[in-house]
């Protein structure tokens, strides 16, 4: 089992969700986060250019069985990359080993609980 954490652009959320649903990955957690990577953006505030030090992003967390890791990653890659070739700021995907997964309702553990 793996935990896939993707940090993506806010604007790409709809596309990524659609791609995941199409790949039959329907159990996800989404949150609004902010952070800093290579991307630098300029925003206007009352006519002044400001460079926010923290940029808003979307974090998607998905727990998957090993067989689904590639499917999930490909779906996110396809949908979160902008303009075909990709741009700085499109985000990152982290894959971490997942020690255990427990469904609270039944107490089931492991791959079937995902």
């Amino acid at each position: 089992m793996k935990l896939i954490t993707a940090i993506i652009r806010e604007v790409q959320l709809d596309k990524v969700r659609e791609a995941l649903i199409e790949a039959d990955i329907k159990r996800i957690t989404v949150s609004r986060v902010s952070g800093h990577g290579q991307q630098r953006i300029e925003e206007m505030y009352r006519g002044q250019i400001i460079i926010p030090d923290l940029i808003p992003k979307i974090r998607i967390e998905i727990g998957v069985n090993d067989a689904f890791v590639d499917i999930t990653v490909n779906a996110i890659l396809k949908a979160a990359r902008t303009n075909g070739a990709g741009n700085v700021g499109d985000g990152k995907i982290f894959i971490t080993p997942l020690e255990e997964c427990i469904r609270i309702r039944t107490g089931e553990r492991g791959g079937t609980a995902i």
């Binding site: 604007v11 989404v30 609004r32």
Partner: protein, 443 residues
Amino acid sequence: MKTFGKRSLLILLLLLISSAGLFAADNTHIDSGATAWMLTSTALVLLMIPGLAMFYGGLVRSKNVLGTIMHSFVAMGIISVLWVIVGYSMCFGKNVLGGWFGWNSDYFFLKGIDTNIMDAGIPEYVFTMFQGKFAIITPALIAGAFAERVNFKAYCFFIAIWSLLVYNPLCHWVWASDGFLFHLGAKGAIDFAGGTVVHISAGVSGLVAALFLGARRGYPYQVIRPNNMVITMLGAGLLWVGWFGFNAGSSVSSGLSTAQALTATQVAAASGALSWILIESFHQGKATALGFASGILAGLVAVTPAAGVVQPYGAMILGLLASLVCYSAIQVKNRLGYDDSLDAFGIHGVGGIVGAILLTFFIRPSWMKEAATAAGGHWSLWNQLGVQGLAVTIAIVYAAVMTYIIIFILNKFIKFKSSESDEMAGLDRSYHGERGYGMLNPS
């Protein structure tokens, strides 16, 4: 030197004109009671526009909240300016072009009314500002039909042109003393505060625009939920309060007819809201806050044309019927699958039609007597029903056809619908470069 001479001549002329106006003013007495109430009403109707902004703003997704609020706010800017330049003249001037709209060069930039006192005893400035607020809210109502997917620049041009070509003519026909609907039948088509002019025209135009633009991305399979029902409820509350200016102010006096309109308004709003949550409870099992707010609006919209002629029992029944019909209209919309996002047609269009037609059955007897005298002896309920039906049909057809033409032509110059990427990013970011909320969860 020559221009200077010309200018001083002009100033002299202006002084002469204004002093002539002053003499005229001395002859007409200002009714301070009526003026005070009309000033209050003007402010109350203006309050409805931020109310509408909040009502609509809460119902969209968080990425569109500012864009949606701006649809109402920018109307306060665009329409107010247009109203002063030509709007008031087009609505309340003398018939021109066969009565298509009005024109009076004194009203151009309101330059000739500086000292005018109307027969009702109020300064004409008050009346024009009061009427101007109606002109603002009408195009802002349309925005509910195509929320979350419209280009801001195109929207600005649209409401400006729509106001000139749809609102001003309709307003002239119904409310100007030489408008043809004002004289239809024995005592005119009844539209006390804007059932046809405001709500039917906005609702129908909204429907046409929503059909032309097509649905939002992901509609209807993707669930699109309100970002903040709390501001929606506050907005509905402000609309209810503001509606007292809208309806009771439309008597353009401060007396008996004002009180009658005020009472009808309160009764219809309450019965509409109650009916909606009752219907909803039976149909879906729960009384929702959005349902209550929708019921308030349905009742208020239906009583708008009727407030001057119905008694409280009539207003109560109108509120109930409006909620029943509007609720059904929204169910039908869900079946048909077109995307009237915030039900501008479902509530304003349908509710306006219900009110304008069914008010016939609740007209107070004294009005019918006056109509009979005016008609030369006999005027039945069915005669008036015919007049109401005709006025409503004219409003629907005119608004629908003109809106289609305006959007069709405008769309050739500026794409009316947001591009897919703008729509996904949200109106706030795409057109305003801002965000409504800080760090709320995405919706």
